[in-house]
């Protein structure tokens, strides 16, 4: 379970912890969307802001990077695929413009993941849920409380299911199932085990929720915007303003 420590809530009293969850969620939504359109100035400003937030929230930049090391391997793979070109021959060729484009793409992905990890590690699931209820309330035909509860469950379940997937993978390797040639056989075994264990975990969760008399009309967490949120929004607007720079 140590591998999924940071991608879950870490209690603290930093400014990032004290920010209203609505501010954090709106900023992550807006900034991660802007990442796809942002140039070097925007990405540079955002990188500095994220680094400062990581240091300020006591999570630490190095620890943050270490905890997403598996994602970094994936990112390296994406970079290689995007940077290499195969011309007429079979030998891969490096083109400077393509390497720059690949670096920019990977930079964007990394920032989006770091923002999400910071949001999850500094916001309790209950606060994420309350912020979602607030954001979904104006939408017609949406049961905002149920939807927010379900998103909250995803935040809790994804690290656990990833951990289970690793365990199943190890168990399959120890039984030489990964040596089987048929991808269909391996996919079937892995998926059936993963779904079975996830469903059993779901049953435990249902029992726990019923034992605590769960219903949709629970008392919501009280949220209040403060001056700190105004400062954070101001910094967000400043970072967004760099979108217009080349």
């Amino acid at each position: 379970m140590a591998a999924v420590k940071v991608v879950s809530y870490q209690p603290g009293d930093s400014a990032l912890h004290r920010l209203d969850p609505r501010t954090k969620q709106i900023m992550v939504m807006v900034l991660s969307s802007a990442c796809f359109a942002g140039g070097r100035w925007f990405l540079g400003m955002l990188t500095i802001s994220i680094a400062l937030c990581a240091i300020e929230s006591r999570i630490g930049l190095i620890r943050l990077i270490r905890e997403i090391r598996y994602f970094l391997v994936f990112l390296l793979f994406v970079f290689i695929i995007r940077a290499l070109t195969f011309n007429d021959g079979l030998l891969p060729v490096l083109v400077v413009s393509q390497v720059q484009a690949a670096l920019l793409f990977c930079w964007r992905l990394l920032l989006i993941v770091l923002m999400a990890v910071l949001l999850i590690s500094t916001t309790p699931t209950g606060a994420i849920r309350a912020a979602l209820v607030w954001m979904l309330r104006p939408l017609p035909l949406v049961n905002e409380r149920a939807a927010a509860t379900m998103v909250g469950l995803i935040v809790r379940m994804v690290p656990l299911i990833l951990f289970q997937a690793g365990e199943i993978s190890d168990a399959m390797r120890s039984r030489c199932i990964e040596a089987r040639k048929s991808p269909l056989f391996r996919m079937n075994r892995f998926t059936i085990m993963l779904f079975r264990r996830a469903i059993i975990r779901g049953d435990d969760l249902v029992d726990a929720m019923q034992a605590r008399c769960y219903n949709e009309q629970r008392t919501m967490r009280v949220m209040q915007f403060t001056k700190l949120d105004a400062v954070a929004a101001g910094i967000g607007v400043l970072v967004l303003a760099t979108l217009s720079l080349a």
């Binding site: 991660s32 994936f74 993941v113 990833l162 269909l184 079937n188 998926t191 469903i199």
Partner: protein, 185 residues
Amino acid sequence: MDASTRKLRLMVYSSIMASLMAVGAYIAIPVGPVPIVLQNLFVMLAALLLGGRWGLISVCVYLLAGAVGLPVFAGGTGGLGKFVGPTGGYLIGFAIAAWLIGTISEKGRGNIFIDAAAMLIGTMVIYAIGVCWLKVVTDMSFAKAFSVGALPFLLGDVIKIVAAASIARALRPMIAERLMVPRTT
């Protein structure tokens, strides 16, 4: 089992399916602008196991989690920007496909051939919306968009459909027992 317990169980199972979709999205092989992921296998399984309505809810919750910035989309990304990016059409296609697969499969009462046909239709819907959206966003020709956004993945999708049909057959009794649903063929 009373109605509220059944609803709660379905709600939790839908969240778990959405979490599995997110986990499936991490296992990605990037090729061109659209990565090959296990995500669509898990979308099809959610629809087959939970039916049209809850399969759709499960995908919608997954999309909502991604829209608010949680790293649940392919390659661990998230944010509203993904919906207007090159892969946005596939994401919308997932929701429609889940409803179609679940609804057709429910009518087929667990028949493996009807399940396979439902998944084939669902996959076609995902590609129809995804490729058209890719064409619009990247300004490619339709042939180019199809060759980049659909063609490389078709063989993998056939394997996923065959796998999903047998996996659903193995898991259905477990779900049916928990939801007190009458057993199908």
